[in-house]
Subunit: 200 residues, 2 copies
């Protein structure tokens, strides 16, 4: 199977790929996300552009190495009634952010971009999952913050960890909430890159 590079430093995306049992390498990008955020107010256009920018950055790195690989990039954000919510910078911001999402349904959007080093073709797509939170008290949110699950995560929560206690319902792909819509990646790799993740 062709070498797969995940243009990401997210431990959640790493776990998603580890658990499908397909070998991969992680390679982080270094892009100015703020520049994109200032330019875009539409969350779908924004996550797609961010995923594409990460992909371009990592594709250049891999080309310099002279490697032939398939590269997958992604960006995740939360959209609550048109307001874009990213990652919290500290625990105070995480509290405010979770308080905003508390008792409500938000859209978890992941943008993906996929290419090969020796192919100009780029697939740039996205997936949306609706996520419903129970209503927690301030004391409960403070206790959740202490787990540090908020760190580095869009929306300041981790659905597979302690946040499972307050996520009552999702509608859409569950892996998308963790950071990669795995069924979509499977379909794109199969259709556009002739790579079947169910082959040995």
């Amino acid at each position: 199977m062709k070498k797969i590079i995940l243009a990401s430093k997210s431990i959640d995306r790493s776990e998603l790929f580890n658990r499908i049992g397909v070998p991969f390498e992680m390679l982080a990008s270094n892009i100015d996300e703020e520049k994109f955020k200032k330019k875009n107010s539409d969350p779908i256009i924004l996550v797609k552009e961010l995923a594409k920018a990460k992909l371009d950055f990592v594709k250049e790195l891999v080309k310099k190495r002279g490697e032939d690989a398939l590269i997958i990039a992604a960006d995740t954000l939360v959209d609550l009634n048109g307001v874009i919510i990213g990652k919290a910078k500290n625990s105070e911001e995480a509290f405010k952010l979770l308080k905003t999402l508390n008792g409500k349904v938000h859209r978890l959007i992941t943008g993906i971009a996929i290419t090969e080093t020796n192919d100009p073709k780029i697939i740039n797509d996205y997936d949306i999952t609706l996520v419903e939170f129970l209503t927690l008290s301030d004391a409960e949110i403070h206790n959740y913050i202490k787990t540090n699950e908020w760190e580095g995560r869009a929306g300041a929560y981790s659905i597979n960890d302690k946040a499972s206690l307050f996520i009552s319902k999702i509608n859409g792909s569950s892996s998308n909430v963790i950071g990669l819509p795995m069924h979509k990646i499977y379909e794109i790799l199969k259709t556009d890159f002739k790579l079947n993740l169910f082959q040995k």
Copy 2:
């Protein structure tokens, strides 16, 4: 915090509890599931009764030990248009089962039963999540079977592992698909047993 005992031997349920960071002990029940299956054709009544029977069995064990604990039991099954689907006994049965679910939406139902050793009260509830499968070819299903994820799992798949590639959508609790509706357990423990899983 009061001691929590999970009346289960499922590694998935164990992982769900490990990841919320709450200490617990696993204690398997030994009940005649076939007896209940012959008696019940309604999947919701059946999973609730199976969870209750597992609870009763483990409650007796814990009482004999003389321990004071909170006990949580669960049973999971798949319902496809009124047909109850449990676990596959071998890889041939797993293939048939996955072929039945292929390209369709099924109901994943988990029954739960919760009690305390020193309290006659039993909460017996359930949760339903709709799960949508992409359409895989026979060769792809055979390759999935080789991962052995089907073993010991209702519906013969593991959503957090390689099955993430063919589960396009769920509607409901995601932890419920793994074997325990965690938000429901959190709410029941808080309301009926005065135990808050967000307390230190």
